[in-house]
C-alpha cells in the first residue's frame, strides 16, 4: 500500500493540520515508510487466532451511577484560550461556527 500526495493532503485536512507542498512530499515518504513497516505484520500467520482486544487479561470495569464530580467550571475553563461570562454563567468561547 502506498499513499499518493492527494491522500496525504486529505489526511492532514481531516486532522486539521495545515501542510505546505514541501511538507507533503516529506510526509508522503515518512507515512509510506511507516505503512511498509506495519505491513510486515501481514507476513505473520494469523489463521485461527482470535483478534486481540487488549493488552491485558481483564474485564471492563463498570462504575456505579453516582454523581461524583461537578461545580468546577473554573478548573474546566482554566486552559481555555478564550472564555465568556454572562448572566447565564461561564462558557468556552470559540470562533463562530454555524451550519
Amino acid at each position: 500500500m502506498s499513499l499518493d500526495a492527494a491522500t496525504v493532503r486529505r489526511i492532514a485536512d481531516l486532522a486539521r493540520i495545515a501542510v505546505t507542498d514541501q511538507e507533503v512530499a516529506r510526509l508522503q515518504g515518512e507515512l509510506n515508510g511507516i505503512l511498509a513497516w506495519i505491513e510486515q505484520l501481514n507476513e505473520v500467520a494469523t489463521e485461527g487466532v482470535e483478534p486481540l482486544t487488549g493488552a491485558v487479561r481483564m474485564r471492563l470495569r463498570l462504575r456505579e451511577d453516582m454523581v461524583t464530580e461537578g461545580d468546577q467550571h473554573e478548573a474546566i475553563l482554566a486552559n481555555a484560550p478564550d472564555r465568556a461570562d454572562n448572566a447565564m454563567g461561564s462558557f468556552f468561547a470559540v470562533p463562530k461556527v454555524v451550519e
Binding site: 482486544t53 461537578g70 461545580d71 462558557f91 470559540v94 463562530k96
Partner: protein, 483 residues
C-alpha cells in the same frame, strides 16, 4: 395497495427508516461521574473526562448499560453479550476530544421489532436494525456574540441510545406511529423521558421513493427533526420533492437535509467536503463490553409491563374495547390512574369517566394526569356514590365539575348541596301526579299510542325533582301511573 404519491407519471411509494437518538435516564454520564440534570448553569456539570483533559480515562456507567439492555429487551431485540466501543473521529467545537465514543461494528443491541398501530385500526411490524450506546456532544450557542460561539459542555458525555429502524416505514402516518410507539415504550421502561422539546429524543429521517415493486432508490437523510408532527411533515415533503426530481428527468443525490417547519420544505445542509469520513477504530481506553447472561435475565425479569401487554390485559381483564384499551395505555400514568379507579368497580364505567369527563377537565384546565385536580381515589368514591344509588349518573357529572373546581370530596359536595337521590316513592308519586296533571293533552296522546312520549314524561318528572329522582323508580312509577 398502501400509501402512494400520485405523480404526473404514475404512483410512487415511500421508503423510510428512522434513526432516533434517545437520551438515557441516569444520574451521571456514560463515562464520568458528572451529573446529567437538565438546565444547570453552563459548564458546572463537567468532569475532566468530559472536557477531554489529557490522561483522563473513561469508565462506563453500569446503569447506562442496564438502560440500553432494558430498551433492547423492550424492543424484542437480541442483546449482544459482547460489544465494543469505538472512536468516531471528527472536529467540532462542542466535541472536546475530537472523537465521540460510540459503537460501530459491534452494538450492544441487535435486531428487534415493534408493532405500530394505525388510525384505521391496522397494525404493522417495523424492524429495528440495532441500538448502540454513544456520548452526546456539548451545546453550542451561536446567538450570544457577533463573531463567537459559546460552548457549554454540560451535555457532553451524557449517554445516548441511537435506535435505528429498518426501511420498513411506508407513509408519513407510519413514521409518526413508529416514533409515537417507540417514545411510549421508552417512557414505560423509564430509559428515556421522551421530551422532544428539551431534545431528549431527536429523530433523523431517511427517505427515498420508488415505483411500486421496484428496489430501493437513492435516499436522503433529514436531520434533527424535533417533533412527531414534524417527522410526518418531513417525510411527506421530502418524498414529494424527490418525486418531482425523478419525474422532471433528474436524479436524487444522496445528501443530508434539514426540515424547515415554517415553510414545510426540506433544504440541503451546507455540505462538508469530507463528511462521513469518521475513521472509526476501537477505543484503546476501553476493553470490550462483556455482559453476564444472568444479569440480562435479571433485567428481563424486572421489566415493567409494556403498552402492548397492558392493552391486551385491559381488554381481557376489564372487557374494554381495543380502542379504549389503547387510549388508556398511551401513558403509563393514565393506565395507572384508570386501574386505581377501576379496581373493585365497574371497569367500563371507570373507563368512560376517565376518557370522557376527566380527559375533558384536564384539557380545559391545562393539567396533566399527574397534576389532575381530581385524584383516582376521589373519582373512585364518586363512582361508588353512583353504584350505591346515592346519586344518579347525571347528578354525578355535576358533582364532578364541582370536584374539579374545589377539589372537595364527592360525598361532602353531595351533602352540602343536597344532591342525594330521592328514593322515597311518595315524593316521586307526587311529582309524577303533578306532571301528568299539567300535561293532560300529552297523556291522552300517549294513551292513544304515541309511546315515545314516555321519555318526555321522564324528563319532566326529573326536572320537577331537580334531577334527584332515582331513574329506575321514576320509570316504574310513571309506567304504573300511565298504566
Amino acid at each position: 395497495m398502501g400509501y402512494v404519491i400520485e405523480g404526473r407519471t404514475g404512483p410512487w411509494e415511500i421508503v423510510c427508516g428512522l434513526e432516533v437518538h434517545a437520551q438515557v435516564i441516569s444520574k451521571s454520564k456514560l463515562f464520568s461521574g458528572a451529573a446529567t440534570a437538565f438546565g444547570a448553569a453552563p459548564n458546572t456539570q463537567v468532569s475532566f473526562v468530559d472536557a477531554a483533559f489529557p490522561g483522563m480515562l473513561p469508565v462506563p456507567n453500569r446503569e447506562c448499560i442496564a438502560q440500553a439492555i432494558r430498551t433492547g429487551l423492550g424492543l424484542n431485540a437480541q442483546i449482544n453479550l459482547w460489544s465494543r466501543f469505538d472512536r468516531k473521529n471528527y472536529f467540532y467545537a462542542d466535541l472536546p476530544a475530537g472523537y465521540q465514543i460510540s459503537q460501530y461494528q459491534h452494538p450492544i443491541v441487535g435486531r428487534g421489532e415493534i408493532t405500530i398501530e394505525l388510525a384505521d385500526g391496522r397494525t404493522r411490524r417495523i424492524g429495528i436494525t440495532r441500538l448502540h450506546l454513544e456520548q452526546d456532544a456539548g451545546k453550542s450557542l451561536h446567538d450570544q456574540h457577533p463573531t463567537k460561539s459559546y460552548i457549554d459542555l454540560n451535555r457532553a458525555g451524557v449517554a445516548l441510545m441511537e435506535i435505528v429502524s429498518e426501511p420498513d416505514i411506508r407513509s408519513p402516518e407510519e413514521a409518526g406511529a413508529y416514533l409515537t410507539k417507540l417514545r411510549q415504550i421508552l417512557r414505560y421502561l423509564g430509559t428515556c423521558d421522551g421530551n422532544m422539546e428539551e431534545g431528549s429524543l431527536r429523530a433523523d429521517v431517511n427517505v427515498s421513493v420508488r415505483r411500486p415493486g421496484e428496489g430501493y432508490r437513492t435516499r436522503c437523510e433529514v436531520k434533527n427533526v424535533n417533533s412527531i408532527r414534524f417527522v410526518m411533515q418531513a417525510v411527506e415533503a421530502e418524498a414529494r420533492r424527490q418525486v418531482e426530481v425523478w419525474e422532471s428527468g433528474g436524479e436524487v443525490a444522496q445528501e443530508t437535509r434539514l426540515f424547515d417547519p415554517a415553510r414545510g420544505v426540506t433544504r440541503p445542509m451546507r455540505s462538508k467536503e469530507h463528511a462521513h469520513d469518521y475513521r472509526y477504530f476501537p477505543d484503546p481506553d476501553l476493553l470490550p463490553l462483556e455482559l453476564d447472561a444472568a444479569w440480562v435475565e435479571e433485567l428481563r425479569r424486572t421489566l415493567p409491563e409494556l403498552p402492548d401487554a397492558k392493552a391486551e390485559r385491559f381488554q381481557r381483564e376489564y372487557g374494554l374495547s381495543a380502542y379504549d384499551a389503547r387510549v388508556l395505555v398511551a401513558e403509563r400514568a393514565t393506565a395507572d390512574f384508570f386501574e386505581a379507579v377501576a379496581r373493585g368497580r365497574d371497569p367500563k364505567l371507570a373507563a368512560n369517566w376517565v376518557m370522557g369527563d376527566l380527559f375533558a377537565a384536564l384539557n380545559r384546565t391545562g393539567r396533566t394526569i399527574e397534576t389532575s385536580p381530581v385524584s383516582a381515589e376521589a373519582l373512585g368514591r364518586l363512582l361508588d356514590l353512583i353504584a350505591d344509588e346515592t346519586i344518579s349518573g347525571r347528578i354525578a357529572k355535576q358533582v364532578f365539575e364541582d370536584m374539579v373546581e374545589t377539589g372537595a370530596d364527592p360525598a361532602a359536595i353531595v351533602d352540602a348541596k343536597g344532591l342525594r337521590q330521592v328514593k322515597d316513592t311518595g315524593a316521586i308519586e307526587a311529582a309524577v301526579a303533578q306532571v301528568l296533571a299539567a300535561n293532560a293533552d300529552k297523556v291522552a296522546e300517549y294513551k292513544a299510542g304515541k309511546e315515545k312520549l314516555f321519555g318526555f314524561f321522564v324528563g319532566q318528572v326529573m326536572k320537577a325533582m331537580g334531577g334527584k329522582g332515582n331513574p329506575a323508580l321514576v320509570n316504574e312509577v310513571l309506567k304504573r301511573a300511565l298504566g
